[in-house]
Symmetry: C2
Subunit: 237 residues, 2 copies
Amino acid sequence: MERDATGMTVGPEAIRAARTSWRRRQIVDAATRLMGEQGYHDMSVSALAREAGISVGTVYQYLDNKESILLAVLEDVLDTYAAEVPAAMVGLVDPVERLAAGFLAYLDVVDGRRAAAVLAYRESHSLSRAALQRVIALEVATTGLLVAELRAGSATGALRAHDAELVGWNLTMLAHMWALKHRHLGAYRDVGVYGRAQLSTVLCGLLADAARERYGSFLEPTGALPAQAARRGGGSP
Amino acid sequence: MERDATGMTVGPEAIRAARTSWRRRQIVDAATRLMGEQGYHDMSVSALAREAGISVGTVYQYLDNKESILLAVLEDVLDTYAAEVPAAMVGLVDPVERLAAGFLAYLDVVDGRRAAAVLAYRESHSLSRAALQRVIALEVATTGLLVAELRAGSATGALRAHDAELVGWNLTMLAHMWALKHRHLGAYRDVGVYGRAQLSTVLCGLLADAARERYGSFLEPTGALPAQAARRGGGSP
DNA sequence: ACATGGACTGAATACTCGTTCAGTAGCGAA
DNA sequence: TTCGCTACTGAACGAGTATTCAGTCCATGT
């Protein structure tokens, strides 16, 4: 493969590769938008083509069939989780701090693409068995990053004995909850506040007594909010 | 309306009412089964009729259209929540005990109808706005039962200050998690164990220091399990 | 100027599925 | 037996959609 002075590949096949990824992004972005509004089944391929500003035929030039459009959309979000969570933990060594940073990063991705996060729950049953396995593997991998920190925290004694696997899935679930139950969480005006509230709820039951003071900043960091939220929140449907 | 000696209504219109509810149950049960396997969109009305052992026309005699089949299925589960949760709390007066009983009852319903519990997440976007409002109202009402006990617990001083609304939704979410993430929770062989584990996780961060001893039975009631589960659980996808 | 080939188009194809309704079956009353 | 009525049936209809492919367009090389 030819390369230019900066190491970028050049030549016809590089052009093709660039066009392919540009087209796929066009399609995935449009599909994410439409599926978020209408769902997978109610999004017709011609509507997708229109939204993406291309023709139906072109969609089929870059993706095999409708199911693979869905898979591409789901992988796109899950890949973002898998990239952002470790990125947020880089440079931190303390397990509890790494856990907190990872969780908040996960939550940020969910917040940035709430519709897409919901799609993983709504539509993954429409995938073939093989595609579903891919999606599940990605989900397990990301949760695994949190589980590892929980185990490390237990090892250093900062965290009480607990089932890291279970608590890891709880954290994942609470992050997804921001998308799944967003309508009911109106009292929390932004993700940051929600994230710190949930982190404190979880860590409060998890931190060893000896470590409580050290990580006090994670516990009720916004002492005023819960009461405020409780007063505001009438659970408007 | 005519009634017999035991107060049951009799006569032609009672027969009709009985037949209607029998047929609706037939249809809802068959639909729950099929939608659990294939999803709402991939379940054809003729397949539903076949599964229920009746003809297509009969389905339309008892339900207006396909969407109302979905609504009937979702309402069926949500009504069960709304019935079982208060039933489990009857006779208990202590808010923490009532909370625990309500949560475990909720979880039992989820466990008994896991497929249907998942449907509420998967398919409710296919409902009309009005039907969606009904479903949401039922969900809010049931979570409200837990929220009320959380508030009561705060009032008696058994629970630390917290946002009852948020923790209520967390509990709801953790109950749904048993259905949504069931594949990842294999280490917990039955709902009871899972329920007590989650209850202890939540209460551990929620109980006021003064109340910890009193409700010790809820905290790590199966001290051995977490470690066991952690050892078993490889997160098989 | 012309030829070549890849990218793109969108009408045509070949379905499936929700819904209806003319007709059948069964049953109690006269 | 015959009538009347209700519950039930399932073929037929119409709307809609995933996928294909014959043809157009355009950038490039000769």
